[in-house]
Subunit: 267 residues, 2 copies
């Protein structure tokens, strides 16, 4: 059995390419179709209803490409639209939040977990809910870090201004004695190096992109949806509007190979 | 004669409220209808075609409210959509770029003018074109400052991280010996204090919001469109999606009074 249909991955913009990178590393045989809604990025400040409507439109565009699974490579969409997507589409739908929460619980020793993300993700309480659903005794300290995405998009991945903002955001979590930190935004894996450098003491960093990729792998195995081991997986990247410089930042930092992106019109 | 129809002001989001503030101060008798496209903010990274389409939609929504003039309180829209708006609508259309450019030329002594703005505004070269059209001998040094908007939206108006970024962005312009700096983004008037503090030597700061308001005043006089001096102007604020915390930052920093904003659906 070899299922060569693509895995459809979507995000509000380009940040979801960190999930694509994790998928490429873990599942090199799989074809991947990425769709980033650069025409309407960012979703964070938008209402839940608007985000759900946009998410359904993107998922439908990927389903027209015969996707065998949908990966929501966006914390905002995962936190507000996963139930409606699961209900509406017949293929498996995997988000970034539950895999990240499970990995954090496996990593933490003192059961005190920190979560950072955009304001929308933190306000949704989605990681907190997922963590508590799995372990009622876990303690969670959350913090919105709204300036990290713009700093990342500007390519300031190793920069004193970024380091200062990271420290300012993380200080209260460290004071709370967390031993594990969930990067609850698909942009943040690009700051793993900076965060590890700034956090001088030992903290487990949980990258939700990597854990999402592992969840996709398990799901493909469970449902016998894997491509053949000899298939050389292809990556296609489509965007709904022109890309800004962040596409180059992400491509370089992730060492992700793909040709020109396709421009795809929204319905 | 008293023309009580509102002045329709629109922006991709909330930044245009700096123009509203300047209009309120200068023209307290005028009714103002503000429309911010928070559902699709920011316009900066979007293509010119997309920005033009969105601008026409917003202008049509304001024309349904019987606007007597359209004020484009957004540098991105002003730089790519002013001709198409002027052609399509019969009422006067005023942007922020030409008024800012004229004021800079009036202020500069050494004919060397600095312009800062978002990446889209700087890339468009709109200020440079407007400056050169008025004075072929002017020298222009431009710099995109993409992190200033997120810093402002986070309310870090008096903060060492913001000061550092301002210095980093302005250093090359100062080295170029500009004597006048155009704030080519409607968010930036909120940083006037910080910029003046950081620039230790004397530089004229040209606020395009204030100059846009003066251009509106002149146009109303020229076309006999003023409201009666006794009219107490009202301000209505409508947004196309939920506002984020920046609405409160702007309202507080600008000391702008209005009731609840209205939520208005896009066509």
């Amino acid at each position: 059995m070899s299922d060569l249909r693509p895995i459809g991955v979507f995000d509000s913009g380009i940040g979801g390419l960190t999930v694509v990178k994790a998928l490429r590393d873990l599942l090199p045989n799989e074809n991947i179709s990425y769709l980033g809604d650069t025409a309407r990025v960012p979703y964070g400040p938008k209402s839940a209803e608007t985000v759900q409507r946009y998410a359904i439109e993107l998922a439908e565009m990927l389903m027209k490409q015969n996707a065998k699974a949908l990966v929501v490579a966006c914390n905002t969409v995962s936190s507000v639209a996963l139930p409606v997507l699961t209900e509406k589409f017949s293929v498996p739908v995997i988000g970034v939040i539950e895999p990240g929460a499970c990995a954090a619980l496996a990593a933490s020793r003192n059961r005190h977990i920190g979560v950072i993300g955009t304001r929308a993700t933190i306000r949704s309480g989605a990681y907190e809910k997922a963590l508590r659903a799995a372990d009622a005794n876990v303690r969670v300290s959350s913090r919105a870090c709204p300036l990290l995405v713009p700093l990342i998009e500007e390519g300031l991945l190793n920069d004193e201004v970024t380091d200062r903002m990271i420290l300012r955001y993380l200080d209260p979590l460290l004071a709370d004695d967390i031993d594990t930190l969930v990067l609850g935004c698909t942009h943040y894996p690009l700051l793993t190096g900076a965060i590890a450098r700034v956090l001088k003491r030992q903290i487990m960093i949980v990258d939700s992109a990597q854990n999402c990729a592992r969840a996709v792998e398990e799901m493909l195995d469970r449902q016998s949806l894997r491509a053949a081991p000899l298939n050389r997986g292809e990556l296609r990247v489509a965007l709904t509007d022109a890309a800004d410089s962040f596409l180059n930042v992400a491509r370089d930092a992730l060492q992700l190979k793909f040709g020109e992106f396709e421009l795809r019109a929204l319905p």
